[in-house]
Each structure stands twice: as C-alpha cells, then as structure tokens.
Assembly symmetry: C2
Homo-oligomer: 233 residues x 2
C-alpha cells in the first residue's frame, strides 16, 4: 500500500469507529427518552422515540456496508480486521437496544393513553440506571479500547437480571390483589424485560471489546468452561 492508501485506510477505520460511538449515543438517548416518557407521560417524547428508531436502523445498514467495503477493498488483518468484526457485531446489538427503546416507548404510550391516568407502581429506575450505565461503559470501553470495565459490566448484568425478577414478583402480587391491573401490569412487565435486554446487549458489546483488544472470544465463558476447553484451542 502507498502512504496515501494507508491514510485513506486509517480514515475509513476511524469513520466506522466513530460511527459506532455516534450510533451508541443515539441509542442511549432513545432509551433514556423512552424511560423519561414512561415516567412523565409525555406522549410527544414517546412518539419521537418511536419515530426515531428508523434512523438507528439506517445507521446500522450504512455502517455494515462500510465494513463490507473495507474488507473487500483493504483486506485488513490482525487488529484492523478485529476492529471491523467488532463493529459489525456491536452495531447489531446497538440496533437491538434501539428496538428495546421503541418497545418501551410503545408500551408507555399505551399505558398513558388509557382512560384512567396511569402511574407506575413499581420502581424501574434502579435497574434502568444500571442498564444505561452498562451501555455507556461498554461504549466507553470501545472508544478507549480498554477492557478494565468488563468485569464490572458482567456483574451489573447479573444485578439487572435480579432487578427484573424482583419487578416480576412485585407485579404478580399486584395482579393477584387486583386482577383489573393485569393488562397494565403486563405492559410494565414487558418494559422491565426490555430494560433487562438493554443490559444483555450492552454486556455483549463489552465482550466484543475484549475480542478487539485481546483477540479472545469471551462469550459463553460458562459454556466453554463446562466443556473443559477453550473455544479457539
């Protein structure tokens, strides 16, 4: 490659790298706005979240295409190839976080559009705060190619799962006490599930960063341990 080509290649890599961060920022805002709309009943905000999802989908398609172009034209190797593969995987998870934001916004809109004024009887803010923190940390790890937050993110994921289970137990109690709340409680249950999924996808992103930095695939570490080997040996 000539020096000029190298420079172009670097620019292209930087473009997909910053694309992930831009997409991540957008997705984070979508989740935060969906939760804000759920709390305040701001229907306009919820509708903006629902309509905004397609921008994230388009961003995924765009970045995916750029990654394909880089592989075809530049034949990246080693850490450059790992960056491209990490981007391809990370944007798929970010797109799905976008879907979860949309689901939350749609459910919140239904809840706040009913005949009776709706107020949330379970506290989702702790789990939601954790999931958003996981997302930010995962993006930050990617930005700095630094895996020091990974162990904490894995721990937070367990906490988010526990929050979901706690919410489910609370909702079951409410539903048993007053069966008229069943429909609304199910909407809230699916919102809690969506928050849990935001955590799962953020954890995935953090795991891809380990692959990016160290070349190790750390997904399903428990599966691999059960098998008594390493996947790449």
């Amino acid at each position: 490659m000539t020096e000029h080509t190298y420079k172009q290649f670097d620019t292209e890599l930087e473009k997909i790298r910053s694309g992930v961060l831009r997409m991540g920022g957008l997705v984070e805002t979508q989740v935060a706005n969906a939760l804000e709309g759920l709390k305040t009943g701001n229907i306009g905000l919820l509708e903006r979240v629902i309509e905004g999802d397609h921008r994230i989908n388009l961003l995924e398609i765009e970045l995916d295409e750029e990654c394909n172009q880089i592989i075809a034209k530049r034949q990246p190797a080693a850490v450059d190839l790992r960056l491209v593969m990490t981007v391809i995987k990370a944007i798929a998870d970010l797109e799905r976080i976008g879907d979860e934001a949309k689901k939350i916004a749609k459910a919140a809109k239904r809840l706040h559009s009913g005949e009776m004024p709706f107020s949330l009887r379970v506290d989702l803010s702790y789990g939601a705060g954790l999931a958003l923190d996981m997302l930010r940390s995962a993006l930050d790890s990617f930005a700095r190619a630094d895996i020091s937050a990974w162990a904490r993110i894995e721990k937070q994921d367990e906490e988010v799962d526990a929050c979901f289970k706690g919410t489910m137990r609370q909702l079951i109690t409410f539903m048993m006490e007053d069966p008229r709340t069943i429909s609304n409680s199910l909407e809230v249950l699916f919102i809690a599930k969506a928050i849990e999924r935001v955590g799962d996808h953020s954890k995935n992103v953090a795991e891809y960063v380990v692959f990016l930095v160290q070349g190790r695939d750390v997904r399903y570490a428990k599966s691999v341990a059960a098998e008594g080997g390493t996947p790449q040996s």
Copy 2:
C-alpha cells in the same frame, strides 16, 4: 492463487456453509424438543435441551473463528465475501434461537415441577409450527441460495406475531378469572414470546440470504421506505 489454494479455499467455504446447516439442524431439534417436553412433561428431555445449549454456543464461536480466518487468509471478494458475512450474521441469530429453546425448556421444567400437575390451557402449537417452518425454510433458502421462500417467511412472521397477541389475550382472560393461575400464566406467556422470537430470528436469516444472493440489504425495509431512499444508494 494457485489451483491448490483455490481448492482449499473452496473447501473452507463449504465447511462454513455446511456448519451453518449443521448448527441450524441442531437448533431446530432443540426448539422441537423443548416444545415436546412442554407438552408431555418429559423432564429428562427438557434437561437435555437445557444442557445441550452450550454445544450451540461453542459451534457459533467455532464458525465465527473460521470466518475470521477465511477473511484474514483468503481475502474473499464479491459473492465469497457475502457468504462469509452471511454466515457470521446467521450463526448469531441461530445461537439466539438456541437461547429461546433453552428458555422454553427452563420454563416448561418449572411448570411441570410444581406441586399441581400442569396442563397447558392455550394452544401454542399453531404458532410454534409456523415458527419452526420459518426456521426450516430459512435454512433451506440458505442451503440452496434461493430466495423464493422469502416473501412467504415475511408473511409467516406477521402470523406468528398475531398468534402471540392472541395467546396473550387468552392468558389475560384466564388470569382475571382465576388469579391463582397468574404465575403459571406468565411462564406460558414468556414461552409464547420465545416462540415469537424464533420466528423473528428465522426471518432475519431469510433476509441475510437475500443479501447473499442479490447483494441487497433488505432489513428494515419499512424504515428505509419511510426515509424515501435505499440504504446503499
């Protein structure tokens, strides 16, 4: 490339191609067995599904690594590159179908391990049959690089979504009639959701095959139409 290298390259591409089909077959069996165990209460079968999931995870990691190797060593272009990218994406969705099978099996095990004998009061078989048919059709499309089933799979996906909504309505009725059934009904609701997700992921695989065959990215077609353009233009 020498003729020898070409042959090796072909062998490698064939290996990842058949790897997807093998993984797909395994995943299909997992879903079918989980549903069978739900119906019959065969706890041994359900436990085999739960334990079997890690094999699918390992298969994904293995195939993913093989795809990375092919890109690094062979620098594939055009349809060969599209095959590798399709494999990388398809195995991620197949792995998630495996997760859904495991979720169904775990919920079924809890339902059949309660003090009271459990029998399913909603009929999930129609939606489950559709979702499994979508999975088989998507894998078949991939095997034959043939997109003729794609439109039907998209239609079936809508039907599976409608089945889920119908099941949810039925379950709400049961829960309101007899609040003691709420916990079990929620387990069944999450099983119905998992079936719907099997449909979603199968649809994704079918969409990747369109990319493989035609080089068009047809995901989020509605988003793109809303934006008034094509993603790659």
